[in-house]
């Protein structure tokens, strides 16, 4: 009998949730005018209109599959995709070797990193990218790498494979061994999947062009402990990257093997790796791609190492001025000779401690003295803003007072007007904001600021803190943000983005209350993921993107990219369950 109270007590734990009433029992319960049909208690269909594309992402358990793009996706009116068949990927295999250069010539494979990329098949998509590693030390006849990529269909662009030999880091390999990167340059290949075996990729060539030279300080003495490499492009308009072997000089002399497919102009970049030395990165730019001898001369009058302390503080809402911990402080000085020659850039970066102080080693000579600038990025989620390229006088260092960020307040309501709690809200610089940046450095700085985020409260309310501008000329660079509302699992709402919110041009503004965001009605779609063998795919993901069709912004911003392709907007995603079934919610 004594058991009875315990069991009664335990029974208090019993919580059987009320089953949610079905949304529909027949098609007539749904918006049939939109195309909705009732399926297992849910009104599916009635998708939004527009131009859509998709990306299918396989689960990690299916190493035979690769993510691939569906450039044009028709959303089914009744919401049922049916079977979505995952194409089989193509496994590219091959072997990486460096050119046979005695005494390092033993015929084994070379370690390398391979970046496989392909432009997107739809406007504004991210394209395909994958990274794989080539194992070193494998005997001849074996493959040293493999990577699964989507099949190349007629009309698709080829893949670019960047093969970067191992051991190209800032520091030389331990024990004085020669790394692959010291023997041979990277290479870029253009391949399709017509042939899956790439054979042996040989890095370097016996008749490759070489650039040799020396590094000198301002007094003509050899500079030692520098990493030296040539940088350039492999294709017109491509990204600037290493296009030569890497030299780690211990006597001021260097020799670089150029990649045969590198295109000019190229630069020779020498970066110090002695952690006890404060010295600038030296760059000799504007060189043609041919063999020769070059001298990089460090500018004179750099001065001596000097440790500076910069206090980073912020004015918080309670009126207190407090040191800011966790802020990333970067100090930069540059020297650029007007008549060509070697330029020099000194960059130092550190994170502030609990006392808000950043201690950095700099050079105090006149060459750099007037050119120091400082950038500060506060820790993620801070109510304080960034500082970009603020002049820094070494002889009179003032505390840096971070500007307050603008608090964007808002409230999220669903289609019926009820507040929505638990939505993730993320503020991202909009395309307009990015394309107002006057140069690549400013754009890069914007990209290094963590996106502020918040979660809506019970009343659907939220606050996110954004920088009102970046830089010192707010008439040119002013903030515009996209607010992304992301519904978590279990909330039957579509994710939604409110685009291009303009920040009022008032630098004294501390708070801005936005109009209520009313989430659009949601369209539900479903389908089933399977491979070509009709085996269900569990844990695969379908991502649906809306392709931008209005390019008006290209005429409205001062610095659009040359192709002015507006990034496609992710509007929905779904992951297949144990049955291979996936469901998506899209905003109408």
């Amino acid at each position: 009998m004594k058991l009875a109270p315990a069991l009664v007590l335990a029974a208090g734990c019993l919580q059987i949730p009320e089953p949610a009433p079905p949304e529909c029992t027949q098609d007539a319960d749904c918006e049939t005018s939109l195309g909705e049909v009732c399926n297992a208690g849910v009104c599916y269909g009635g998708p939004p209109s527009g131009q859509f594309a998709a990306v299918l992402v396989p689960p990690s358990s299916r190493s035979d599959l690769a993510s691939y793009e569906i450039p044009s996706l028709t959303l089914p009116n009744d919401g049922n995709f049916g079977a979505i068949t995952f194409e089989r990927g193509v496994t590219l295999v091959g072997r990486v070797e460096t050119v046979c250069a005695l005494p390092a010539c033993d015929g084994t494979s070379a370690g390398a990193t391979l970046l496989v990329s392909r432009p997107s098949l739809f406007p504004g998509g991210a394209g395909f990218q994958a990274v794989t590693i080539s194992q070193d030390g494998l005997q001849p006849g074996s493959n040293s790498f493999s990577v699964v990529v989507p099949r190349t269909n007629p009309g698709d662009p080829p893949y670019t494979i960047s093969v970067v030999p191992a051991g190209n880091g800032l520091f030389p390999p331990a024990n004085g061994v020669l790394s692959a990167a010291m023997l041979a340059p990277p290479i870029h290949l253009s391949v399709t999947t017509d042939v899956s075996s790439l054979g042996t990729i040989q890095l370097g060539a016996s008749d490759a062009m070489t650039i040799s030279g020396s590094l000198l300080d301002g007094a003509g003495h050899a500079l030692v402990k520098y990493r030296v490499v040539a940088r350039g492009r492999f294709e017109p308009g491509g990204a600037i990257t290493d296009v030569s072997s890497v030299a780690y000089t211990s006597d001021g002399q260097f020799s670089l093997v150029l990649a045969p497919t590198a295109i000019g102009p190229i630069s020779i970049v020498a970066q110090p790796y002695d952690t006890n030395v404060v010295a600038p990165v030296l760059t000799l730019a504007g060189l043609d791609v041919h063999s020769g001898a070059r001298t990089l001369a460090q500018p004179p009058n750099l001065g001596n190492k000097s440790t500076i302390s910069i206090l980073v503080e912020g004015l918080f809402g309670n009126g207190e001025v407090t040191p800011v911990a966790g802020a990333h402080v970067a100090v930069t000085a540059s020297y650029d000779p007007m008549n060509g020659g070697t330029s020099a850039v000194l960059s130092r970066g550190v994170t502030t401690g609990d006392d808000g102080i950043a201690k950095l080693d700099v050079l105090d000579g006149p060459t750099f003295a007037g050119s120091y600038t400082v950038q500060v990025v506060p820790p993620a989620g801070s109510e304080l803003g960034v500082v970009y390229n603020q002049p820094l006088a070494l002889d009179a260092i003032e505390p840096i007072r971070l500007p307050g960020r603008l608090a964007l307040h808002g409230r999220v309501l669903d289609h019926s007007g009820a507040p929505v709690a638990g939505l993730a809200v993320t503020a991202r610089p909009s395309v307009r904001f990015k394309w107002t940046m006057p140069d690549a450095d400013a754009l890069a700085f914007l990209g290094e600021i963590p996106a502020p985020t918040a979660v809506t409260g019970a009343g659907g309310d939220f606050s996110v803190f954004v920088d009102i501008s970046v830089g010192r000329d707010p008439d040119v660079v002013w903030g515009f943000y996209d607010l992304a509302f992301d519904a978590p699992t279990g909330v039957a709402l579509a994710s939604y983005t409110v685009g291009d919110i303009m920040i009022p041009r008032d630098s004294t503004l501390e708070n801005l209350t936005l109009a209520d965001t009313i989430l659009p009605d949601t369209a539900y779609l479903h389908g089933n993921l399977a491979d070509i063998g009709n085996q269900r795919i569990v844990g695969g993901e379908l991502r649906i993107f809306q392709v931008a069709t209005d390019a008006q912004i290209c005429d409205e911003v001062p610095f659009p990219p040359p192709d002015c392709v507006i990034p496609a907007l992710l509007v929905g995603r779904g992951t297949s369950d144990d049955l291979g079934t996936l469901k998506l919610a899209l905003p109408r």
């Binding site: 069991l7 919580q15 049955l579």
Partner: protein, 222 residues
């Protein structure tokens, strides 16, 4: 306009086959290995293992199980404490192009808008979960998270969180294809502004779990 009552799509899943291989219940079907329904007390090999007090305790525990007080085991292997609080765990991580099992190679393009989606489990459904993504974090030279996001409490033990990864890579890290160490940490308490370890300190009782990846920072897609 009719205001519709939307239900959880997960619960309202249509259990109909969409391909010949996806019969509902196929995955879950397995050979029963349950204990026999009839007692074995009368068997010659059966013997008492507990006295009456032990039997009562056993009955209480069984009673709890029967009425549904099931406490799922912790899946976390990270920070544990002696309290009854359950640590969070990471059940899945996805970038825009791949699912990322622990230790995988992840690549993100510098300056390109992207996200990481996490599926998390915390049986303390009242806990808000805070996600921080660190790159090359070293205890002797700690740097703050480059991405953060959170998952609200009160939904279910399973949650999702979406972290913006635009700032995960910095300009200086692009191009050399030298792998960085990316660590995703999930905290069940708000991370403190100060304390040790820096940028990961929590109030007493807070717990965390993490996953580590090799990160490659690539140039933006052409």
């Amino acid at each position: 306009m009719r205001h519709r009552m939307r239900c959880d799509l997960g619960r309202a899943a249509p259990r109909v086959a969409m391909t010949p291989v996806s019969e509902p219940g196929l995955v879950g079907s397995r050979t029963s290995r349950a204990n026999p329904a009839t007692g074995l007390a009368g068997s010659s090999v059966a013997r008492a293992l507990h006295d009456r007090r032990g039997l009562r305790a056993l009955a209480f525990l069984l009673g709890c199980c029967l009425v549904g007080c099931i406490v799922p085991p912790s899946l976390s292997v990270d920070v544990q404490d002696a309290g009854i609080d359950s640590p969070p765990s990471i059940t899945a991580v996805r970038s825009s192009s791949q699912e990322l099992p622990e230790g995988a190679i992840a690549q993100f393009a510098f300056g390109q808008m992207d996200t990481i989606n996490l599926t998390l489990l915390d049986t303390d459904i009242t806990d808000t979960l805070y996600v921080r993504i660190f790159v090359n974090y070293k205890p002797e030279d700690p740097t703050p998270a480059r991405s953060f996001c959170q998952s609200a409490a009160g939904m279910s033990a399973f949650r999702t969180a979406t972290c913006d990864t635009t700032a995960l890579c910095q300009q200086a890290e692009v191009g050399n294809l030298t792998p960085l160490l990316m660590r995703i940490v999930v905290f069940d308490r708000q991370v403190l502004d100060s304390g040790s370890p820096a940028f990961m300190a929590m109030p007493v009782g807070g717990q965390s779990t993490s996953r580590v990846y090799s990160l490659f920072c690539t140039p933006p897609s052409p």
